[in-house]
Amino acid sequence: MNAPAPSSLRLVLTLAIAGLISGIAIIGIYESTLPTITANKARELREAVFKVLPGVSEMQQLVYRDGKLVATEERRKDEQAVYGGYDRAGDFVGYAIPAAGPGFQDTIGVLYGFTPKQKRVVGMEVLESRETPGLGDKIYKDADFVGSFSALSIEPNIVVVKKGTSARPNEIDAITGATISSKAVVRIINEAHAEWSERLPPVGAEPPLGETDPVTTEGSP
């Protein structure tokens, strides 16, 4: 311990070797876990899309590019995308649209299913949320609240009303004790709907199910 101070070269070499070994170890673990991680993400996205669009058995990513929707797996960072859902016969059913916005604590990310023919929201799934446990997290734990998005009219937009007073097809009950979070979810969907309704092609002109395999990567909304 009390040996004379080692040369600077020795110090530099020690750190360099330690860094090198560490770098190799990190690359190793990154490379070996990457396939599982991407597969997990893709599976989560698939499950979410199938949940918000009942009756769908195939999906593909539709990227909004140059004013229209293009069925492609590649998406650049600044491009937005929705997911098209198709039934067993390959006919178009609806869109699963990812949307995000501020909640009570942090950003809430949701995915909602929209059928353009009926102009209805047919399902909603919270993908990302840091809402208060026990209160705000009811936006995905409360089956009644989640269920109220299963046949919801979105024209002109969704309205949150006090618990037990929803009467019209575009009204839903707020969650007691989580009014801000439930309003946030509805606002996020309304805003996304306003944004996307101009971009989506007219009913009947949706991009057909392509030959490409279903989406596997870059799924995060």
């Binding site: 311990m1 101070a5 080692p6 020795r10 110090l11 020690t14 750190l15 330690a18 860094g19 070994i21 560490s22 170890a25 990190i26 673990i29 990154y30 876990t33 599982t36 991680i37 997990n40 993400k41 989560e44 208060t132 446990p133 026990g134 209160l135």
Partner: protein, 214 residues
């Protein structure tokens, strides 16, 4: 004799020098991720892996690492293990990883881990260093689990997500919110200090009795 040594190094971390309840180290993950028993155990196991792995390496290379750059070397070793734990959790249990969020990368800043390298692993042979690390990490895991279990039972009426009390239980939501962490930890620390006080009194009594008996 040797057996006793390593046993002693192991048990001191679990109880007498428990990193959380006695040394009061690693408070940040302690308060942040103990809102359910599963999260607490996942965090405890990740920390266990990092601490034991780093202690093993630091102790093995202790004569090679010049003491001028030892802290940097410890941090490199710890950070590598943390990254490995991070990716492994993300691949194997994405749900738990999502809940723990930023606190897995933050294991690198857990002063308990760097503290053990500096105070123990860099001075003792591998066997003792690993026993010490296992004891400390075991004590940390135990502490995280007791906090997580108490908070989940009171705050959610469940343990490991299994409902315990049925419909009529009104959960104390505050227990799974940040204040619940402070309250629970405070009560447990109170108990540990009271226990230590009683033990010291008892030992003093015994010593007194021995002296007067002689």
């Amino acid at each position: 004799m040797k057996q006793n040594d390593s046993y002693e190094e192991f048990i001191k971390g679990i109880w007498r020098d428990n990193p959380v309840f006695v040394q009061v180290l690693g408070m940040c993950p302690m308060l942040a991720v103990t809102n359910s028993a599963v999260n607490a155990i996942a965090m405890g196991l990740a920390t266990f892996f990092v601490l034991v792995g780093s202690s093993f390496l630091v102790s093995s290379f202790r004569s090679w690492i010049p003491k001028q750059v030892r802290i940097s070397c410890f941090i490199i070793i710890i950070a590598t293990f943390v990254t490995v734990a991070d990716y492994t959790l993300l691949a194997l249990v994405p749900k738990v990883h999502k809940e723990l969020g930023a606190f897995i990368p933050l294991i690198v800043a857990n002063c308990m881990i760097l503290g053990r390298q500096e105070a123990f692993s860099s001075r003792y042979p591998v066997r003792l260093a690993v026993m010490d690390a296992m004891g400390m990490a075991g004590g940390f895991l135990l502490a995280l689990f007791s906090l997580g279990a108490i908070r989940e039972i009171l705050g959610d009426g469940a343990l490991f997500g299994i409902d315990l009390f049925g419909e009529n239980f009104e959960p104390w939501i505050i227990m799974i919110l940040p204040p619940g962490g402070f309250l629970t930890l405070g009560v447990i620390l109170l108990f540990f200090n009271w226990f230590k006080l009683k033990k010291d009194e008892f030992l003093a009594d015994v010593a007194e009795a021995e002296r007067s008996g002689r």
